[in-house]
């Protein structure tokens, strides 16, 4: 975890890029997109606490 933080925190460090042919993505952007997908899936599946019902 510390390594991860220091990678991000260092402004001088060159970016980490992942690529498959024409597809190329910066690690930071990839994480943002994966987190969005994760949030969406969690929102669909996690049970929502049932509030007080009223007529």
């Amino acid at each position: 975890m510390h390594d991860l933080v220091s990678i991000f925190a260092s402004l001088d460090s060159p970016g980490i890029y992942l690529g498959w042919g024409a597809f190329q993505i910066q690690l930071g952007n990839l994480i943002v997109i994966l987190v969005m997908i994760l949030l969406f899936v969690l929102a669909l599946f996690l049970p929502f606490p049932s509030g007080r019902k009223r007529k």
Binding site: V32, M36, F40, L42, L44, L46, F48
Partner: protein, 233 residues
């Protein structure tokens, strides 16, 4: 073409109570958005999913964007290069933007899969998309205002798309004065206005009922209808 008349709201003001333009406008506004719709104490029972929290997440992120933006604006564009506090406020501005887009996009996905434009909510969808698109332009001008290597390159590279569309002179990415005005006045006003309209429309129309919901559903049977003589269809 509904089978049953919409029941009249309690205390619905009569049209002829108003005599002036102002009064008529007030009447029309109150009829469309009465106080209990604007600030509700309850929501339909189907509003029970985590997917509903992302709209609020986006609004709150926008609050943090505006607050950090105001501090950056008060100190001028060069401040964050020189001051540790300034750099931190700049980081808050950046991360609130990232969170704004993340929550807004998850909200958009959710609303799409709910087909949330049903039942007269088309304008709500359109204003939501408007908020998304105007926010993209606003964020772009923010990247141009960093006054560092990134903004220099974005200005050089970004000019081609704008020039090809014929708007490069009026939206000149290398003209810091122009972009500054866009980013701190014109576009925030646009985002604020579109988001405010979007939220008011959401409150006016209420949260869209589930797809395939029918009058025969249990949740509609147990509800106490104001027009009780029609109940139990």
């Amino acid at each position: 073409m509904s089978l049953r008349e919409n029941p009249p709201r309690e205390h619905a003001p009569e049209e002829d109570e108003y005599h002036t333009w102002t009064g008529k406008a007030r009447g029309a506004l109150l009829r469309r958005l009465p106080a209990d719709k604007l600030l509700p104490e309850d929501q339909p029972s189907y509003v029970a999913s985590w997917i509903y929290v992302f709209g609020m997440g986006a609004i709150v992120s926008l609050v943090f964007i505006l607050a950090s933006g105001v501090i950056l604006g008060l100190n001028g564009p060069a401040w964050y290069h020189l001051s540790d506090l300034g750099h931190f406020v700049n980081s808050v501005h950046l991360w609130s933007v990232e969170l704004f887009f993340m929550t807004m996009v998850v909200h958009l996905w959710g609303k799409y899969w709910m087909a949330a434009w049903r039942g007269g909510r088309t304008l709500t969808w359109i204003t939501g998309m408007g908020a998304f698109l105007v926010s993209i332009v606003t964020a772009f001008t923010g990247y141009l205002l960093q006054t560092n290597f990134d903004s220099q390159w974005i200005a050089f590279e970004g000019k081609d798309a704008l020039n090809s569309a014929g708007i490069g002179a009026w939206f000149n990415v290398a003209n810091l004065g122009q972009i500054f005005m866009f980013h701190i006045i014109l576009l925030p006003l646009a985002v604020g206005a579109v988001v405010a309209l979007h939220v008011l429309l959401v409150r006016m129309h209420g949260v869209v009922p589930p797809l395939e919901a029918a009058e025969s559903d249990a949740q509609l049977q147990t509800g106490v209808r104001p027009d009780s003589e029609e109940a139990g269809r």
